[in-house]
Symmetry: C2
Subunit: 340 residues, 2 copies
DNA sequence: ACTGGCACTCGCTACAGTCGAGTGCCAGAG
DNA sequence: CTCTGGCACTCGACTGTAGCGAGTGCCAGT
């Protein structure tokens, strides 16, 4: 049942036309718009085979063909040619990201940029704490029984938590706490901290131990255990392009999914090797997103990956373009992070 | 042309029915469902007057009546009875907010709670920096030429900025910088800082002056001038209830507006006296929101106001219920903030 | 293996007809 | 003067029918 080259060419043509026009494509239009070198009748025969194999389908008996999820999959895997970014696009990316002053700023700019370039919904995960190292811990006394714990990670992320101490504490003791914590934890991956924190408590002088214990609890519980991930989102208005023809007529499930941080993390957070990932329609594990496709990738300074980013759109999307954009933006952001 | 009591009762009935059923309401249905004590014909005459005055209109010649923006306005101002929250709702609010550990946490919980209770889009502004006082400034050395400036406001907000120094600095000098800045600025409103900062620079010892100048610049530029407001959003999926009948069939403009922080701030940020504000349809200054209504209010500990919150929904919304909920949530959050 | 021809399917649009909710108006009663 | 019942009218929603045309599947011929 191997599909010969022409059948593949037909599939590619169908995908490209359908993505462009949003309308089922028929055999006649196909031969007119692409140099296939054969007659409509031949194309029809090929189409029949493609349909039998599940790569395309007919919405109604007398309509043209539309790619199935499986068809898009084949297209993405074997038929799409890489679409290099235009110099203008490259420059836009560079210029847009160059002005960033801050990690927050970088993330915000990135997500807006992605949304704008792909004209879809963009999602960017802040550098994951689990993959970060502690650069510095700071303790700011708020009152005699309250400290603000500020953690700065090597990725630029800064998190703060209020620590409610069991008993009033002296300013000097705060300094000691800070010194001890920094000695022990600076340079460590956050995912490796639990044993270190335990040692930290054990080795503290007895009079500091209660304070150190609550401090450590806050650290572990809020920063490590429920690994605090943050996410930025932009471009939801792009869901309305294509006027509800995409997404089976209801944005509801999509919007619902986009409100759940957990879902978003699942979408873009599973950063395996640095490879880019495309999930098409049914391939999505999240039921609400069965009508959508997601293109995601990891990013980070150099070869290491500290977080994920991606875009979400209709299954009928411009895969080559989207893939190229996501990849390029991720690379630029990685370079930007490496500079710090 | 004064409208007598019965005409007002008719208007109220129309609004209530339309909000409940989402369908134009006719004279017959009206007398059946409300104890108006008159015949349909009489109601029809009243309706004719109400229409003439611009409070209701007919979508089509042979359809029932629908309230206009002006009709809703009259309803909100004079006809809606306060709908007290059920004990269950009160308890839900209390329980939901009680577990908050953090300002971030409070804001997130609040916005989700509002969205859930009103079943609409909720917006909550973080306590405005402009209305906050400086509680503490902390300087964390990152390298010899880089400091992390952490500002803690009395509202619980914490902001950090990276400061790139013009020349390497000694650890002791950092401590001096910190001491000077805190002496001068702690307790000041952020909006009052510019002259203080200038004095701070002038009074610094000469060797610290370059560092203090850059530090001050960062402080002023990123925290004061472009007054850094933050906003949380939830419940966008609720826009799809009522299946596009609301919002003139397109969510696009609404979603676009919700992505613009500036727009959102305009929506809920104009916190005048502690009063609650309702903007109905056309009354909204933002064109994209001409099809929506916004109920917003300020909140803060005690009588002071530190930020705004509100919900956005179709003009056809349950005003009494929404108003009651927004007011109640704002009060609870205020109490919560007062406790710290 | 490809092509041209042909009969067939079926969604889309237009049009006519019917139905009914709802209206405006008017004359009469209280 | 206000309210009511009655009545003619409007017009959107729905239904059924018919014609059109894009697109298909199949088959015989090259």
């Amino acid at each position: 049942m191997s599909l010969d080259d022409r059948k593949l060419a037909v599939l590619r043509a169908i995908v490209e036309d359908y993505v462009a026009t949003q309308e089922p494509v028929g055999s006649k239009a196909l031969v007119e718009r692409h140099q296939l070198g054969v007659s409509p009748a031949t194309v029809r025969n090929d189409m029949a085979v493609l349909e039998e194999e599940g790569f395309i389908r007919q919405p109604h008996t007398s309509a043209g063909r539309v790619p199935t999820d499986r068809g898009y999959r084949l297209f993405v895997d074997r038929l799409s040619r890489v679409k290099p970014l235009s110099p203008a696009e490259r420059r836009a990316i560079e210029r847009f990201l160059a002005g960033a002053v801050d990690l927050d700023d970088v993330v915000h700019r990135t997500v807006r940029l992605l949304a704008q370039l792909t004209r879809q919904v963009a999602v960017v995960q802040y550098p994951s704490l689990a993959r970060s190292r502690v650069r510095h811990l700071e303790l700011v006394p708020i009152s005699t029984t309250r400290l603000m714990l500020v953690m700065i990670a090597d990725t630029g992320r800064v998190e703060q938590r209020l620590v409610e101490l069991p008993a009033p504490i002296l300013a000097d003791d705060v300094l000691d706490l800070r010194r001890l914590a920094n000695e022990k934890l600076v340079g460590a991956r956050l995912s490796e901290t639990p044993p270190l924190v335990q040692a930290l408590i054990d080795e503290s002088p007895p009079d500091l131990r209660p304070a150190m214990t609550t401090l450590s609890t806050v650290l572990l519980e809020t920063l490590v255990e429920r690994h605090e991930e943050r996410i930025a989102l932009a471009g939801t208005a792009n869901l309305t392009r294509g006027g509800l023809l995409d997404f089976h007529g209801s944005l509801r499930p999509i919007l619902e999914a986009l409100e759940e941080e957990v879902v978003l993390l699942k979408l873009i957070g599973e950063v395996e090797p640095s490879t880019l990932r495309v999930r098409i329609g049914d391939e999505n594990e999240i039921d609400n997103l069965r009508a959508a496709s997601v293109v995601s990738t990891g990013y980070g300074p150099g070869a290491t990956i500290v977080g994920g980013m991606g875009v979400l759109g209709p299954t009928r999307m411009d895969y080559p373009g989207t893939i190229a954009t996501v990849r390029a933006v991720a690379r630029y952001v990685g370079e930007l992070l490496a500079q710090n």
